[in-house]
Symmetry: C2
């Protein structure tokens, strides 16, 4: 039976074990020993692949999720924006999101980890989605052309992230998302159509 696993097979087993540990205990609770035991191997096999715990954490995370980017088209800018925020909130509230937040927290001290995270977080794709959203709104005549701007596109998600950071929290109430859209995002879009005064 249990022939000795090698290469790809073993690697997947380790990643699966690490992902489970990550989901159960977050990054802080991810220990090399536990991963080794859970994967039915030993630390040797792990350290031969990833130089340190942080690298394994990231690899396990990307093994855990490959988030699909929503591309809503509800017909109104308000509807689209809410859709985006709700999808993001759902992702971040899920077990995967907990892991992600735990990783981000740990990354604050380790710059190398932070880079890898950003690369993997799909922030660029996200910004692009918001921009096309805005462009559609302009095409519909719903928003001024000046509303199409990278900062405008990035703002709502940044606020959502800040909300997660200050509150320490799994889920942002839907009310907050609605407020971000109605009290900030839409007024901002309107305001960018007004000549500076």
């Amino acid at each position: 039976m249990g022939a000795r696993r090698r290469g790809e097979e073993l690697e997947q087993a380790i990643l699966r074990a690490a992902a489970e540990e990550l989901r159960e205990s977050g990054y802080a609770g991810l220990t090399m020993d536990k991963v080794a035991v859970r994967a039915g191997t030993n630390k040797n096999a792990i350290y031969r692949r990833w130089p340190h715990r942080a690298a394994l954490g990231i690899a396990a995370y990307r093994h855990l999720t490959d988030a699909a980017m929503p591309d809503p088209d509800t017909g109104t800018l308000r509807g689209d924006a809410l859709e985006m925020l709700r999808a993001a909130n759902e992702t971040w509230s899920s077990p995967y999101g907990a892991v992600l937040r735990s990783l981000l927290a740990a990354a604050a001290d380790e710059p190398e980890l932070l880079d890898l995270m950003r690369e993997r977080s799909g922030a660029d794709t996200m910004d692009r989605a918001w921009l096309t959203m805005l462009e559609r709104a302009v095409a519909r005549g719903e928003a001024p052309a000046a509303a199409v701007h990278p900062l405008v596109a990035a703002m709502p998600m940044m606020l959502l992230r800040a909300e997660y950071a200050t509150r320490g929290i799994p889920t942002v109430p839907d009310r907050t998302l609605v407020d971000i859209v109605d009290e900030l995002f839409l007024p901002l879009v309107r305001g960018r159509g007004v000549p500076r005064g």
Copy 2:
């Protein structure tokens, strides 16, 4: 010589030592042993006062700083907002800010710690300052009355925080602060004067 220190005197010595360690090495580098040595005492005296490292970290941080809240009055909303952001950026870029960010990162996993931090971070006072700023702008006829809103007041600082979080960085470039004000904050303020369209 060196009479044995007790009570308040010893407590201050410990806090001073912890604060120095915090500034030199951040929260991650704050070790109980080093604090004990630096304070010229031993871990006993520390654990008799704070139950664990996190508690000492917080206590040391508040011993380190008692941030003065700026209350700019430059005559224009733009000037005031920039002043606020620049002051905040300076604080967060300083050694104190590094400590704060390091503590916040560590707090993400420990909710009790997060509460203590939020209480201590002066977020409420900050929001109030932005609100009075907005009120002054309205009084000058520079902004519509509808611009006075908690979310509007909170937005710029939230964006600044998000900037720190995503980039992993000591200092946000001044250019970014200007953009937050000119591309987002001021258009938003204008937009809130426009009837919903």
